[in-house]
Amino acid sequence: MDWGTLQSVLGGVNKHSTSIGKIWLTVLFIFRIMILVVAAERVWGDEQQDFVCNTLQPGCRNVCYDHFFPISHIRLWALQLIFVSTPALLVAMHVAYTRHEKKRRFRNGEKIDIEELKNERIHIRGPLWWTYTSSIFFRIIFEATFMYVFYYMYDGYQMPRLVKCDAWPCPNTVDCFVSRPTEKTTFTIFMLAVSGICMMLNLAELCYLVIKICMKESGKGA
């Protein structure tokens, strides 16, 4: 059980997405989930073991680490990815519900081709348009929220090399050194950039959908 299940769920949604939605999904899988699992987790793997403080006082290292890293970057990104992928489920549920309704009508005697129903690509119109658009809107909100939380929690996007700690039981002020700060900063900036790209893609998709429906309405009106 890992990100594979998420991949299969989102892959199902892919069929009913716009082209921009498909690009967003690809970026999500390759540049975020895969990078997280294959690279970022190794970089942060030894973070507490290699967090070294210039003191022999037992407990000081634990307390300082906890003070400067209330929640690890890696866990924050994992949560961000889970939350950002969840709105797509709304679309999957709506599509499943539409199919279920069509099947029910078929069972009640209406003529519908069952095979065509299974492979049919449901167009983004009517209520599905609203579900799809709200899912994109929520995605944007979640991305922005997590980026802000990250910025607020870590005072920016840079990993310091040295932090000065004076939490009890550390005697006076103690120098503590973070392991692999440059590599961690590089990955943080990378994940931030990809997050920004995903947000841009979502905004573009939202504009595209709104413009499309406006043009359709004005075309009908004319």
Partner: protein, 219 residues
Amino acid sequence: MSWAFLRDLLSGVNKYSTGIGRIWVAVVFLFRLLVYVAAAENIWKHEHDEFECNIKQPGCENVCFDHFFPVSHIRFWALQLIMVSTPSLLVVFHVAYRENREKRHNQKLYKNPGKIDGGLLCTYLISLILKTGLEIFFLILFYKLYNGFKIPRLVKCDIKPCPNTVDCYISKPTEKMIFLYFLVATSCLCIILNLSELSYLMFKYSTKCYLKRHVKNQQ
């Protein structure tokens, strides 16, 4: 044998669930199982190695850790996830029993073996009650075992062989607390979903029963 087995089991249950049941399955997958495997497990990975006491006395750290964490949080949640997902098996077994019966008698006994009515409704309701009961049980047990839903930064330990009282420091208490609150919140959400599904089903079938009786009386 891993969590993939639970995932497959829950996917099988999904077919015979109501709409709220499917939302429950989605919540368990995404917000409990996936968060557990992708994030929470790693936080508790080295909890014993990183548990540090202000003492050189051999054995003191081990004894203190064992005293304050009789069952590790993460193992507790794994048990909870497994126990809470298992009642859904009752429904799967009942549907399989119905299909078997149809095959044995070689005739269509049920309009649709997977439809929730009659005996299957009772099984479904029992599984919902069991799920809710188990969730509440585990939450109360956690509360009793750890004196509330909190993870302190420092614990004071005075068990033999520790001489006098010793300060012991837990690793990553804030991060652990954040995930503790998250998992407790999703647990409560699952309880609410189960209770609403229970009331929905009871309301739906009691009105159906009442209407049927009303029509019969009129005739």
